[in-house]
Each structure stands twice: as structure tokens, then as C-alpha cells.
Symmetry: C2
Subunit: 557 residues, 2 copies
């Protein structure tokens, strides 16, 4: 049997978040494997209440653990590295990444009590990692976090460029610029690029992307013009933006105070790894509280409305002794990720109630994206001239639009969603397998399957309320007629003058007094009958059917 | 005591939705009252799971029921008329509105089994309703539903213009154009306009608003260019848009099929009231299924991603025998309301998976707003020259920005949020009272208070899961050691090898065997102790503390 080159996304192809991609080379079913990225996405009340983190179900990797030679992490964003501490034990292969990313990956491992021996810090190309049949290089590329890298994955079947997250930024303020010369070189080496696996996030943005550096002047002018305290929020990992904001503070004679653990951690990591230089000295919240308001700029976490982050806390009152006031100016130097709008808007209104002026980045003056727009994607297609294009890092509509773009250029392009295994050995991609994929939820300290029913039950309780019925059956298999009913999340009273719980108890008493012996003797039958009555009465009383839990206690004979 | 003119919003001033405004005139505390609009807003999973409709708590109106002379409904949108069927009984005053709005209001009353005798259909100005000390006229103004009206409310203390929802559209396709001459007249009559209570929705849109009529050509060109079936969604109540879409269908040789009850109801109401003319004949879903795809255009409900609406159903498979196919084109001729993004995006991706091309209105080519933008608001300020400006119909930041705009023009402007009572008798508004306001939730068939705890408990169950414990105490006040534990919405197993429920039962058995008589005899103490152990064990096992319901059954001695 001949060797083949395969690709399979487990996460990130069908959503923006929880990236996890697999490449393999070898005989079918026995390919040696590498994993690129192990990220998370965040839960929401709509579809995953109570869930902190969501990641790809890697059951397939676990089952093929012995075939895995390495894990590569392209960059330090949560959707690329966030699951490493939670899932590494199930894979157990060495983790390769560059220095800054490594600092963040180490924290992720330590946070979950995982040994960090597997971590290998690698320099950018030309340093090359050999992982089974693959030779892999990290290639600097610009994004909204330092040291983002594309992966050059060379296999006997040809070269794959895995773009990672990127934009074409020649002047990224902090970190490495996009270097067209370098990429020309990569495209020309050997037989050129066989496969481009490519970020699709901004495929619907039709104007060329803008450089991080275009923000410096507008942000500086903004900060200088504000009469009182300025507070700015952005993603903590956007170190270049932190630098731009801090430089604006200095230019306006303000001291910088960083609020939020993630913010301080990120500046520290970037400074220690030598990526961030000339960041102004910061002051503590106590010091900030002592200064005149127009001498202070707070740079804070929580641009997405996260409930426990600094922005939300400030909007609710005070945070670490700091309190916003009428005439302060709050800048959201960020884009609101779809799904987070309600939370962000709530905070903006709370700030407005305090008399704080809120400025957002909707018109693009105070924020640029970290992803390549459509014309930039086309430029990369043209530059690398791949035989095959595989859109990744996108919802289905992004992948589809990106594949269409490739097809129009004559590139063999394919939409491969999570669980789709492609054979890339020939000149065109071929679907050779579709495996069951899914999501793992971190619930408290436990990883559960998205389809386990736990979250489904929570959603049902949230929508329908919950009624609990306790039924007692005596030694002679005779039920006590007075069942006990408790409700949670249900109106206390409906159409009758008596409370809902009592109405249900009355109906149950009538049933239990007459229930036939066969029903009473059978837990399942008794439970079903009690549930049915409970739902019926509740429906009549308040117009909705609750979730019902029946507990039957039988006294030992 | 001298008479005064008062204003108090109960809903709509601090949110976009559930409008309910009160005006009064007379001696303080004895003013005769009128109500303008009684609308709803919609629940969401984040803050109100399981709740269908939300409306202003009108306890204050109920308490002052005898002082209420009339209810006026400005137009037929849900956020202005949606609560009339649910709340009318608590007020009991005549309801005044124009013909088309009246048709919709009648349906709302009938839907809730309320008599419709109170409904009074009124013509536009110059017809005048006398309601206590007020003389009120309906003045046609353009919006995204036919017959939207501003209210001229004349009182002995001067003229109030209550704008309702409006835009300045000289060519609104269906219904009445904005008539500057008419408004000049209104501004010049008598002593002119004392108070302008004004829509603030689009105060952050800095370009002048665009007419509905600018969409006709782009939409026609779009529909003509599509190779297969076209499906378009918009708000059912946007009758002008329905007309524009249907006209485009005819121009491209397509038959129109309306899907969704609200859509058909609205076209019927608009046709019956003579507002909509020359709407093309529609075909049934069965007929649509028989025609070649390029001969069909579906106009469907569900532009906001509503789960049960036609759009969502089509995205999940088929609806009334119609099934979308590769190459079909789906147009969202609508703006996604903040908070609805996730649902809409989910649907767009499901359509993408079917091979349907999705087009949204993000770039404004296929949608215009129904509200006045900032320059339009300024034009209205200039036209009406009010002494006092009260921004309404907005979140706090909208009201604040609108008030700032007024202040800059030298108009006495005030942010008055729900529950703030203003005295408008003098040349400047004066806050004279702040009453407790709140929200009512329609849960199934019951109206509950937002702060009753029902929804709070649902959210807690959704976030934390629910454990139920049944404890039995015998005739001699001795507990049976084997308590029964059921969980819902919790992982079955945590750090131990035994199931979570069993772990809790084991710990409870240990406790119950040794529990002192005083604890066992006291329901409250026993419950607290059992709850505490349940939460502790669950925390150890799965890292989170659930909601706990304890049911204690005592056998009669």
C-alpha cells in the first residue's frame, strides 16, 4: 500500500474557535500524525449554560495516540493554545512552539497541574523540527498577538503551508512584520506549495486590511483630547495595541495603570521574552487613585463584556478602589465578537448612567482586525500558488466563500469541515473518511461530552422550570397519598387561587389513592404516571410543562 | 394648588422595546392621565430563559386607574402595541388608534380573550380626541410600518409632540410620506411646541437616513440576477419592504409565496385597510413546489433567527413541503437586532451547508432603517423648535447622546429614564418624582414580576445544575440513613470512580446516622445541613456547587 498525505480538522473548520488540525503521512490508517493547535472556545448561556470552556472532542486522537509524533502551537491565542493543559494528557506528544507562545503554553499546563517537560521551544525558520515523516518550520507572520506563525509542513508528498491566523502587516508596531520576500522564497523552494490551509475569518471583508500602525495617530489624538480619566479596553494579548495605547497615554502626560490579571501577565510575558520594549512604567491602582483624573489612563481587560473582568467591574461601581466619574472617557479599542453584543451593550449603558462618555471602534478609527481580508487572501493565493486550497478557521459560510475564491482562481479548493479526512497526495483533494466529531465541555473541573445530556437538561430546566415529586410507598406496596411537591423556577401560583405545588399535590393524592397495584409496584410505571399528572396540572395552571423529577422511596418490608 | 403637566415613562426610556409613556395634567397627585403605547420586548436565554414576552410593570397605572382617560397607540409594532391584550384589563380605558393599527390591536385583544369594545378607530389630524384635559391628534409620519403616527398632545400648559417611531421619508413606497409642510404648521400653531418627546434609536448614525424607495432598484437587480429560487426575509410588519420584494419578484418573472403566519396576516391587514394596493397575487407552498426554481420567490418570516419562524425551519430542512437547494439565494433584507446575532449566524451557516448563497444587508444595499438618524433628528429639532426635548425610545446611551444634541442647540433637554416623573409646566423640565418601575414577564400563561425569583432560579439551575435530596424521618423522629439523591444537569461522575449521586448519598448516610435529635426534629436545620453536605461533596467531585432542593418526608407517628 502506498503512502498518503492526509489532513483532518477536529475543530476550527465550521466555527471560529477551538482550533485543532491533524496532518498525517504514511500507509492508509497507519499514517504518522502531527497536531496543529489545541484551542478552546467559550460557552454561552444560549447553547451551553454553566460551561466555562469548550474544545474539540479528540477521541480519535486518543484512539490513535501512538501514531502522534508532535503537537505544534502556532500562537498564543486561547482558541489555539487554550486546551493544551486540559487535553495534553490524552495525547502525550512533545509540544513545539516559539518562545512567547511557549511562555503562555507553560502557564496553561501549570494551571491544570500538567508537567511541562513536553514543551520544546523552537526558533523561527530556518530551524526545522523533524516529527516522524514531517519536517516543520515556524514562519513569522503578522497577527494581533506577537510571534504568530505559519507552519511549513514538508512531507514526502510535498509542502503544506498552514497559515495559522494572519494578516499582511508590514508595520505591526510590536513583533514581526509580514515579509513578502520570505514568502516568495517559501513558494519557490523545491516543488513549491502543494497545499495551503488558510485562515478564512475575514473573507467577507472586501477592502484590503489595515496595518496596526494606522491607529497610533487617531488613538493619540483621542487620548490627548479627553478632559478627564481615559479608560481603554482591548484584548490583553494584543500587545501591539497595548503599546499604542500606552504611548498615547505618555504623549498626553498620563500615567498608565494596567487592570486585569491577563493584561499584566501578557505585558510581563512580552517584556520577558524581549518582544515588548520601551513600554512605559506603570502605576498601581492606589497610585492612579491619587493622581488628578486627567493624568491617568487605565488599560483594562474585558472588551467582550466578560462579567468578572475589569471593564464589567468598573461599570458596576468600583474596582480595586478605582471609581469612574462623570466626564471620564471609555474607549473600546476592539471589535465585539458576535454573540457578545448584549453583554457589551449592557456595560456601555451602565457607563453612560455614570456620565462616562463611551467610544467604540465601529467606524474602524480605533481598531483594526488581526485577520487577512479578502484582497489579502487573494494576494496570498497569488504569492504561494498552491495546487490545493483548504479554507480553515471559519464558520461554514466563511469556508465556503473562501473555497469559491480559490476555485475562481483555478486552485483545487475544498470545504472540509470538522471530521472530514482529506487525502492530499494527488493533485486534487479527495475525501477519504468522515469521523464522528464533537465538543468537550469543561464543567467545573470535569470534561463532559456536549451531547451527554447534562447541558440539554440545564437548558430544559431554564426554559421550563423544574418540579420535584417525592412519593412514599409503604412496606405493603401501598403509596402514601400525600406526595410532596417542590418547584424551582416556576411561578408559585397560576389560574387557581391555591399555590401550584398544592394543586399538583391534590391531583396526585387522588391518583395515588386509587392507583392499581401493578402500577405502584413498578418504579417506572409509577414514575411515568406521576410525571404525567404533574405536567398536566402545571400546564392547566400556568400554561407550561415543567421538567419533572420523581423520587420514589419504598419502605423496606 | 396649581395644575401641572407631567410626563413619566414606564418602559422604553432605558431600553429599545416595551414602550409605555404616561402624560398627565391637573393638580399634583391628581393629574388626569393618558397612556401612550403599551408594548412588549422579547425574552432571551441570557437574562430571561423561558420567558416569551416582557412588558413594563404598570403597577403605578393600576393604582391610579381611575385617573386614566385614554390609551393611545402610535403604531402597530410589537414594542408599541404588543402588551395591550395582556395589560388592558388592569387599566380599562378607551384605546385610540388609527385603522391599520386598530386591526392589529384588535387581534392582540382577541388573542388574550379581551373584549374589544374599548377600541376606538380615529382618523389622522385634523380629527381630535378629547381625553380629560388633553386634546390629541394622530399625525402621519413615516416609519417601517404603515400608519405610524406622532401624537400632538395639547394641554392647558402647552403643546407636546410625542414623535412615536419615525424617519423622514418623502417616498416611503407604502403609506404616508413625511410632510414637512404639515410639521411647519404644527410648529407654528398657537404658542408652538413646548415639549418634543422624541425617538432616539439612531442617534449614533451620523449620515442622513435613506428612503425606503432607494431599495427598489438594487433589490430588483439582485432578484433578477439569481439563477434559482430566491428567498427573502424581513420584518412582516414592514409592508413597504414586502411590496418592494414582491415587485422585484414580478419583474424577474417569479411568483410570490408568503411563508409565515405573521407575513400573511400583515399583508391581509394592509390590503383590507386599503394601505397596500397592487400587491401581486401570491401562490401557495404547494404551487411553489411545483414551479421551476427560478420562477419562485419566497418571502418569509424569521429575519431575527426566531426558532419557530419560517427562516429557521427552512434552514433545518423543509417547511410546508418546501426544501431549499444548492444554488438558491437567501436575502436577509433586514438588520439583526443586537442580541440576535448568534441565532441569525447559526441559520446562515446552516443555509451555507445546504449550498444556499446567503446575502445580508450589512452594507445597506438591501435594507434601510425605519428610524431617524442624527442629522434627521437635528432637522426635526430645528423644524419644531421645542422649548423642552425629552429623548425616548432608546437605551441610556442613546437618550444621553440625544439630550446632549438638544442641549448643544440650546433646547432644555433631559434624560428621563423609566419611572422618572417630570414636571413640564415651566420653561425647563423638573424631576418631581421617581417611582419604582420594573418588568412583567409572560411565563406560559402567567404574568410574573421580573424580580419574583422565578427566573433567577432558572438561571441558577442552568448555570449550576440541580440536585434533589429526599430524606425520610420515621415515626420516632429518626431519619432513615439512606437518603435518595437525584441530579439534573450535572455530570454523572466526577473525580471518584463512583457516580456523583452515590457519593452524596454515602456522605449523607454518614451524617444522618449520627445527626442529633435537635437537628432532625427541625425541618429548617435538617434541610440546611443536608444542603450543605450535598454542595460540599459535589464541589469536591466536580468542582461546582449545584442548586439543592431537599424534600423531607416525616412518617406520621
Amino acid at each position: 500500500m502506498s503512502d498518503r498525505l492526509i489532513y483532518m480538522p477536529l475543530g476550527g473548520a465550521g466555527e471560529i474557535g477551538m482550533n485543532a488540525y491533524v496532518y498525517g503521512y504514511g500507509p492508509a490508517g497507519k499514517e504518522r500524525l502531527i497536531v496543529v493547535d489545541l484551542g478552546v472556545t467559550f460557552g454561552d448561556m444560549d447553547s451551553s449554560p454553566g460551561i466555562d470552556l469548550i474544545m474539540a472532542d479528540i477521541a480519535w486522537l486518543e484512539a490513535n495516540r501512538k501514531r502522534i509524533d508532535a503537537i505544534f502551537i502556532t500562537h498564543g491565542h486561547e482558541d489555539h493554545v487554550g486546551a493544551i493543559g486540559l487535553l495534553w494528557d490524552r495525547i502525550g506528544a512533545p509540544i513545539y512552539c516559539r518562545k512567547f507562545t511557549g511562555t503562555l503554553a507553560r502557564l496553561k499546563l501549570e494551571e491544570r497541574g500538567v508537567q511541562t517537560d513536553a514543551l520544546r521551544i523552537v526558533e523561527a525558520r530556518p530551524e526545522t523540527v523533524t516529527a516522524g515523516p514531517f519536517k516543520v518550520q515556524f514562519v513569522p507572520i503578522s497577527h494581533s498577538i506577537p510571534e504568530s506563525s505559519a507552519m511549513i509542513i514538508d512531507s514526502p508528498a510535498g509542502r503544506v503551508v498552514h497559515s495559522g491566523d494572519f494578516k499582511l502587516d508590514g508595520t505591526p508596531v510590536v513583533g514581526e512584520a509580514f515579509d513578502p520576500q520570505l514568502w516568495h522564497e517559501i513558494a519557490r523552494e523545491g516543488d513549491g506549495v502543494k497545499v495551503l490551509t488558510c485562515d478564512s475569518t475575514n473573507v467577507f471583508s472586501t477592502h484590503p486590511g489595515r496595518s496596526e500602525s494606522v491607529l497610533a495617530n487617531p488613538i493619540m489624538e483621542f487620548v490627548v483630547a479627553q478632559p478627564q480619566m481615559v479608560i481603554a479596553t482591548t484584548f490583553a494579548s494584543n500587545v501591539a495595541r497595548l503599546k499604542t495605547l500606552a504611548d498615547a497615554a505618555v504623549a498626553s502626560g498620563r500615567k498608565v495603570c494596567l487592570l486585569g490579571r491577563a493584561m499584566r501577565k501578557m505585558v510581563q510575558a512580552a517584556t520577558e521574552t524581549g518582544i515588548l520594549t520601551q513600554f512605559p512604567a506603570t502605576i498601581s491602582p492606589e497610585e492612579a487613585a491619587e493622581l488628578p483624573r486627567h493624568k491617568v489612563m487605565l488599560i483594562v481587560t474585558g472588551s467582550q463584556g466578560e462579567r468578572r473582568a475589569a471593564t464589567a467591574q468598573l461599570s458596576r461601581g468600583s474596582y480595586l478602589g478605582l471609581r469612574l466619574a462623570e466626564g471620564d472617557s471609555f474607549l473600546f479599542s476592539s471589535r465585539t465578537i458576535p454573540g457578545n453584543e448584549s453583554g457589551v451593550i449592557r456595560i456601555m449603558n451602565q457607563l453612560s448612567e455614570m456620565g462616562v462618555d463611551v467610544f467604540d471602534a465601529d467606524d474602524g478609527i480605533y481598531h483594526v482586525s488581526g485577520h487577512a481580508n479578502r484582497p489579502d487572501l487573494e494576494a496570498v493565493h497569488d504569492l504561494l500558488k498552491p495546487q490545493i486550497l483548504i479554507p480553515m478557521h471559519g464558520e461554514h459560510m466563511h469556508l465556503r466563500a473562501h473555497a469559491k475564491l480559490g476555485t475562481e482562481k483555478g486552485i483545487a479548493s475544498v470545504v472540509a469541515t470538522n471530521g472530514t479526512m482529506l487525502d492530499l497526495t494527488g493533485s486534487k483533494p479527495r475525501v477519504v473518511d468522515r469521523i464522528e466529531t464533537g465538543r468537550l465541555y469543561l464543567d467545573g473541573s470535569v470534561l463532559i461530552g456536549a451531547m451527554d445530556g447534562v447541558v440539554r437538561d440545564r437548558i430544559r430546566m431554564a426554559l421550563n422550570g423544574h418540579a420535584m415529586v417525592s412519593v412514599l410507598v409503604d412496606e405493603h406496596d401501598t403509596p402514601f397519598p400525600d406526595a410532596w411537591v417542590e418547584t424551582m423556577g416556576l411561578p408559585e401560583q397560576g389560574r387557581s387561587s391555591a399555590p401550584l405545588a398544592q394543586q399538583v399535590e391534590n391531583e396526585l393524592a387522588e391518583f395515588l389513592e386509587r392507583a392499581d397495584a401493578k402500577t405502584v409496584a413498578d418504579d417506572k410505571k409509577l414514575e411515568d404516571a406521576v410525571r404525567k399528572i404533574t405536567r398536566q396540572v402545571t400546564m392547566e395552571e400556568i400554561g407550561k410543562k415543567p421538567e419533572v423529577t420523581v423520587i420514589i422511596s419504598r419502605l423496606a418490608p
